[in-house]
């Protein structure tokens, strides 16, 4: 039975490695890949009035840009390898949104690259990998 692997992808080298890793897994197991790109966003952030007025426009641009510049080339790359691929492009808290996508897609696992923050900054701000490990409903693979 074909399963789905969610790959958290932000265009960074680490996430590239995660995607490569996912491709080899998917090929070996006959799985499909969902490339998920999350734009960090909180509905509780503070904006100036001008930003409020332009928000809808900016959101449209951001989504278009992410689709074209980040997701499209990766989709082509995965398809080249003969692995079935879909994409998910969402706004939200990165780890939580990945979990949501995993749930809606009924995914078998989540794969992400490691950003490599260690020590103080990740202690204060928390890391995506750390949060995912805590809350994910499916196995999480963190690719270094």
């Amino acid at each position: 039975m074909s399963r789905k692997i969610i790959v958290g992808f932000d265009g960074s080298p680490a996430s590239q490695r995660a995607l490569d890793f996912a491709i080899t897994r998917a090929k070996a197991q006959g799985d499909g890949i969902v490339i998920a790109h999350i734009l960090e966003w909180s509905p509780y952030s503070f904006l100036t009035p001008e930003e409020l007025a332009e928000r809808h426009k900016r959101r449209k641009n951001e989504l278009e840009r992410a689709e074209k510049a980040i997701l499209a080339p990766m989709v082509a790359r995965v398809e080249e390898q003969g692995v079935p691929v879909t994409t998910a492009l969402k706004y939200g808290h990165i780890a939580e949104t990945l979990v949501q996508i995993a749930k809606t897609e009924d995914a078998a696992m989540i794969m992400i690259g490691r950003m490599g923050h260690s020590g103080l900054s990740s202690r204060i701000f928390g890391s995506v990998a750390g949060t995912l490990a805590q809350v994910a409903p499916v196995p999480v693979t963190i690719v270094p």
Partner: protein, 713 residues
């Protein structure tokens, strides 16, 4: 034609101000003040014209705002009290579509509008009110704040309803748009004229009260603190230049980071301010009772202040109106950017604004001033002692305005005066940024959109920011204050004319809240994920495991249910209705049904059984029943959405869900079974719930759905 004339008139006024202002030398300054005072004095006099009643002068504009707010309150049936919980739910994002993440949320619109109103009015204005009107002014300030919530509701609903949405996705909204479009819709004349009038006042107000006044007061605070460090004459042009440059960088240079930092720091300062006030109040907890008795006594009886209880009322109303700007129309511009299909929701959200601004923050300031004993009273008579001039209550150190607030806070925490300066400067700055936008919207309404036109406005704005801190001109400040309040004249006239539209929308929305579709969060084990703000909500027509949102469709009853099959008939259908018209009727029935279904599932029977939860014929709408039902069913929250969902679609969805869930086509027999049971029980709701629960529990073990939707779609 009117537009052209207005442009000319406006240009003339602008030139008068701009052309003569640079004469900064001291001598010229005074001359300019006199000249400007002559030129604009008539306008200020009209706006702040006061009636003398029994020796007390009442500015008519304050009455205009308060009477308007009272009429809106009554017309909308005390909407500000009825919908508060719904407003909070909206701000929390309970009703936001997760697919709209990344758009402007209700919270953001509220926070931005608040940062435009929270400011000097809350710090200095309140001190003036309490200083002149005594503690009793606080009471009237709160009353005015509560009434003002209805004004905000009205203007912000209209602001969103009649905003302009352009092709590139940007929006422009505000009173000038609802004046033009709303009046056209109702076939009323004069919308365009009111819009232009409003826009002119808005631009002048944005340069004046929203700009010059802010930098002026911020400078006064800075100079005060510098004075305490031994720098006696801190020149205004330094503050002015600083403000002008920063404002320039933000609004023309597009330097978002400064604005973003401010927008983040300002709410923090607000919380810190209120927090400190609460601590001071708690430190003097033995005075709380006295303070409140002073507030109530002062509101209704003679306490020795100028004008007695009426004086307190005037001061309270006046400062509340100055602080929260309800009815002025400025908030409608900020709120109109929110992404919502229902303009009324933004109205509900906006009614929290005067509450936070006036009822919470202003009251805190007033309480601190009263509790720390800044006002001097005669120990023998208990009446307040007036100062030498006889126009205000004597204070311990003779201070008034911001200094009075500063003195009150510093009496407990000496460092607070420095914090207050930072707060005042930041509040002033964020108010300026907000007003630069309000003014710009009015400007583009008058002159049209365009790079060059916008730059001209922004440059003038920076210039006035500089001017405000540099000159100490009473007449200019009076005029700028007057311009902001002049906005309320066309705005409230327009609100009166458009009231029926708002009421129609409001009633339609509230009606839909309860009657058609209900959305619930099911949480037997844990709360739905909320961190980061986005509440996870699966799309409709999907059934998932516990602790997620499930959409419920509460059907309109068109068939008479068969009584015999359902022992809960009396609970579910308290009276023979053909449909659930409103929330009031729907809710008890709904709760009874939840209980009933829960019980059936626990005893594991298909056939509905009498439920022990049911106790005789007690009315079901009582809180303890509700609580018990919640505990029993694990449904911890029930909220409402408004989308309609036809029956056949629900059937289709059910079919699709099963197909997806079990990766195989659903046996037609199952569907038949469902339909048959529906006939037997008389309600698809019960049948569906049972059926889905049975199905999921037996066929898909991982989905331990204890509480499942009664119907989906």
């Amino acid at each position: 034609m009117t537009l052209r004339a207005a442009q000319l008139l406006f240009a003339a006024i602008a030139l008068t101000i701009a052309g003569t202002a640079p004469s900064l030398a001291q001598g010229f300054e005074e001359q300019f003040d006199t000249y400007f005072g002559h030129a604009t004095g008539w306008f200020v006099n009209i706006i702040f014209y006061s009636f003398d009643i029994g020796g007390i002068s009442i500015p008519w504009i304050v009455g205009w705002l308060v009477i308007g707010a009272t009429i809106f309150t009554i017309y909308f049936g005390f909407i500000q009290f009825r919908m508060v919980s719904h407003a909070i739910a909206l701000v929390k994002g309970d009703y936001s579509d997760p697919n709209d993440a990344g758009e402007v949320s209700h919270f953001q619109a509220l926070a931005t509008a608040l940062s435009g109103t929270v400011g000097l009015g809350n710090i200095a204005g309140v001190a003036v009110a309490v200083g002149i009107g005594g503690p009793g002014a606080t009471f009237w300030m709160i009353v005015a704040g509560l009434l003002g919530m209805a004004s905000k509701f009205t203007e912000c609903t209209l602001g969103v309803k009649y905003r302009n949405e352009y092709e590139d996705g940007t929006v422009s909204g505000g009173p000038m748009y609802y004046m033009t479009k709303g009046f056209a819709e109702r076939g009323l004349p004069g919308g365009k004229f009111l819009g232009i009038m409003f826009a002119i006042f808005c631009i002048l107000g944005s340069w004046g009260g929203g700009n010059m006044f802010q930098s002026n007061q911020a400078h006064a605070q800075l100079a005060n603190v510098m004075g305490s460090f031994g720098i006696e004459s801190f020149p205004g042009w330094i503050t002015g230049l600083l403000f002008a440059v920063i404002v320039f960088l933000v609004i023309i240079g597009g330097l978002k980071s400064i604005a973003q930092v401010t927008e983040k720091v300002v709410p923090f300062m607000g919380i810190l301010y209120v927090g400190t006030a609460v601590i001071i109040i708690l430190m003097n907890y033995n005075m709380i009772g006295t303070a409140f008795s002073q507030i109530f006594a002062g509101a209704f009886t003679e306490t020795g202040i100028v004008g007695g209880a009426i004086g307190a009322l005037i001061q309270g109303f006046r400062r509340a109106a100055f602080s929260n700007e309800a009815g002025v129309g400025s908030a409608a511009i900020a709120h109109s950017a929110v992404r919502t299909k229902e303009p009324v929701t933004e109205g509900f959200v906006s009614l929290l604004e005067p509450f936070i601004d006036t009822v919470v923050i202003c009251t805190m300031t007033a309480l601190v001033i009263i509790i720390t004993g800044q006002l001097v009273s005669d120990p023998e008579t208990g009446l307040f002692v007036l100062n030498e001039a006889g126009d205000a209550i004597k204070t311990v150190d003779g201070s008034s305005g911001v200094e009075l607030t500063s003195a009150a806070f510093s009496s407990s925490f000496s460092w607070f005066r420095y914090l207050l300066v930072i707060a005042v400067v930041l509040f002033a700055f964020s108010t300026m940024i907000s007003w630069s936008y309000y003014g710009l919207k009015a400007w583009t309404y008058l002159f049209g959109e365009g790079q060059t036109k916008e730059i001209i406005y922004k440059l003038l704005f920076c210039f006035f920011a500089f001017l405000g801190a540099t000159i100490q001109l009473g007449s200019v400040l009076d005029f700028s204050d007057a311009a902001i309040f002049a906005m309320a004249i066309p705005n409230i006239i327009a609100l009166y004319c458009l009231l029926p539209i708002v009421r129609k929308d409001m009633n339609s929305y509230i009606g839909r809240l309860g009657s058609v579709e209900i959305k619930i969060f099911v949480s037997p084990h844990r709360q739905p994920m909320r961190r980061g703000g986005a509440l996870y909500r699966p799309p409709p027509f999907q059934i998932r495991g516990p602790s997620e949102t499930i959409r419920l469709w509460l059907p309109r009853l068109t068939l008479a249910p068969e009584r015999a099959d359902c022992p809960f008939f009396d609970d579910i259908f308290p009276r023979p209705v053909t449909q659930f018209p409103r929330r009031k009727q729907a809710m008890p029935a709904f709760r009874a049904e939840m209980r009933h279904i829960d019980y059936c599932s626990r005893i594991g029977r298909d056939q509905p059984q009498p439920c022990p939860l049911r106790q005789g014929k007690q009315p079901l709408a009582q809180p303890q029943h509700r609580q018990r039902a919640k505990q029993a069913t694990g449904i911890h929250k029930i909220v409402f959405t408004h989308e309609k969902s036809p029956r056949s679609r629900a059937d289709m969805a059910l079919y699709a869900t099963f197909q997806r869930k079990f990766h195989q086509p659903v046996d037609p027999v199952d569907i038949q079974f469902l339909l048959e049971r529906r006939r037997r029980i008389g309600r698809r709701l019960v049948a569906d719930a049972q059926f889905i629960r049975d199905g999921l529990q037996t066929k898909a073990a991982p989905y331990q759905c204890q509480y499942l939707p009664f119907a989906i779609g």
